[in-house]
């Protein structure tokens, strides 16, 4: 057993000096004086972070916008416009897709949601050969039904009170009140005839 007794500080030497006390007091004084500039600096740092966050948001927004699939244009770069085909014709698009039109066909651009290439087959017969892949969707209004596809080749024939859709490649979705159960998936080789009575082959 040693000579140690509680409280131990009785057997320890003093650690506080006048110089240390003055040093601490000067430090407190300095902290008080620098508090305002530090607040200002903190505010500036926060402002810089906010500006950086806004800049990142703008850049990301622009990047996402430019990555959004845009509708295809004609091969010469002009936007797609309504076509009345007097003879057989082929419309070549800039992404490699092609639309074949039979005589007497009218095909028009149609309103569609963002990322969708909207068309309206007003009359006649057309074959849509989609190329290029990607997430872009085509939507073709054909009167009794609207045909939607992402990467497919399909044929639509629209007559008076009658519509025939057949799919050569890929998968297409036919929607409309005249479609059995209002919606029908059509795979390669499938066809759908709509009129007063629908017929699926």
């Amino acid at each position: 057993m040693s000579e140690l007794r509680y409280p131990l500080k009785e057997r320890l030497h003093d650690v506080v000096t006048e110089r240390a006390l003055q040093r601490v007091w000067r430090g407190i004084d300095d902290r008080q004086r620098t508090r305002a500039p530090r607040r200002l600096a903190r505010g500036l740092v926060l402002l810089a972070f906010a500006a950086l966050a806004v800049a990142i948001g703008v850049v990301l927004g622009l990047a996402l916008r430019t990555r959004e699939p845009r509708p295809p244009r004609l091969a010469d770069g002009r936007p797609f416009a309504a076509v009345d085909a007097a003879t057989r014709a082929v419309i070549a698009l800039d992404d490699g897709s092609a639309i074949r039109l039979w005589p007497g066909t009218r095909l028009e651009p149609a309103d569609a949601e963002l990322g969708t290439f909207g068309l309206r087959l007003a009359r006649g017969e057309a074959r849509f050969d989609m190329r290029g892949g990607g997430p872009r969707r085509w939507s073709v209004e054909c009167g009794l039904a609207t045909v939607e596809a992402v990467d497919a080749e399909f044929h639509c024939t629209r007559g008076a009170g009658r519509l025939r859709v057949s799919v050569e490649r890929g998968t297409a979705l036919a929607r409309g009140a005249a479609v059995p159960e209002h919606m029908r998936w059509l795979g390669a080789g499938d066809s759908l005839e709509l009129g007063e009575t629908a017929k699926i082959e």
């Binding site: 057993m1 040693s2 509680y6 409280p7 500080k9 057997r11 320890l12 506080v16 000096t17 407190i28």
Partner: protein, 203 residues
């Protein structure tokens, strides 16, 4: 090494008066508060964190915090209450420093206790000049036990066994019930008892 001797002044303003003056922005009032309590705090915190530089930083921060919160004190605060209030702030900051050091060591980012040049105020290093060799060895052992102890028991034990605070004062400074403070102190006593017997040194 010299220690400032503060003689009691006749008609010295009470802490309550100084607090009121300090709240109004009187620099003299603040300096008198500092002069009255800083030495006590610096002594206590130096031993708690075993570092002179660390203790100076903590006491400096203690008064910076105190000046901000001074208005929350009641103007009837007595001397002992102001000291206890300052002690609570200082011990809170010391606790944070000890926990941070422990966490850094846990992740291998800090030096082990005793290897650190900053640890220049461990109990053995503060031993009085005339202390015998066996007593110095005991202090070294206590240092090692405290290094391994959890932060809360370490603080409570040091306030009680090193600084000689009453159990109620330890509880007040540590912001815990007296029973909790007692349990924490007993935890370290038990570890020391393995070598010293119980109690390690006379209570």
């Amino acid at each position: 090494m010299t220690r400032p001797i503060l003689l009691p002044l006749p008609n010295a303003p009470s802490d309550a008066e100084l607090v009121a003056r300090a709240i109004e922005g009187d620099r003299f009032g603040r300096e008198l508060i500092y002069r009255r309590h800083a030495a006590y705090l610096l002594e206590m915190v130096t031993r708690l964190v075993a570092s002179r530089d660390g203790a100076e930083a903590i006491v400096r921060e203690t008064f910076v915090v105190a000046w901000k919160r001074l208005a929350t004190l009641t103007t009837t605060a007595e001397n002992a209450e102001l000291r206890a209030w300052l002690s609570r702030i200082a011990v809170g900051l010391a606790r944070r420093r000890l926990r941070r050091a422990r966490m850094l060591r846990f992740f291998g980012l800090g030096l082990e206790p005793g290897d650190d040049d900053d640890q220049d105020a461990r109990l053995a290093a503060l031993a009085a000049v005339d202390l015998r060799h066996d007593a110095r060895q005991d202090l070294e052992h206590i240092d090692r036990v405290l290094d391994r102890a959890r932060v809360e028991p370490r603080i409570a034990w040091m306030l009680r066994r090193v600084d000689g605070l009453t159990l109620d004062d330890v509880a007040a400074v540590c912001a815990c019930p007296p029973a909790t403070a007692e349990r924490r102190i007993a935890e370290i006593d038990a570890r020391l008892g393995e070598r010293f017997g119980t109690p390690a040194v006379s209570p």
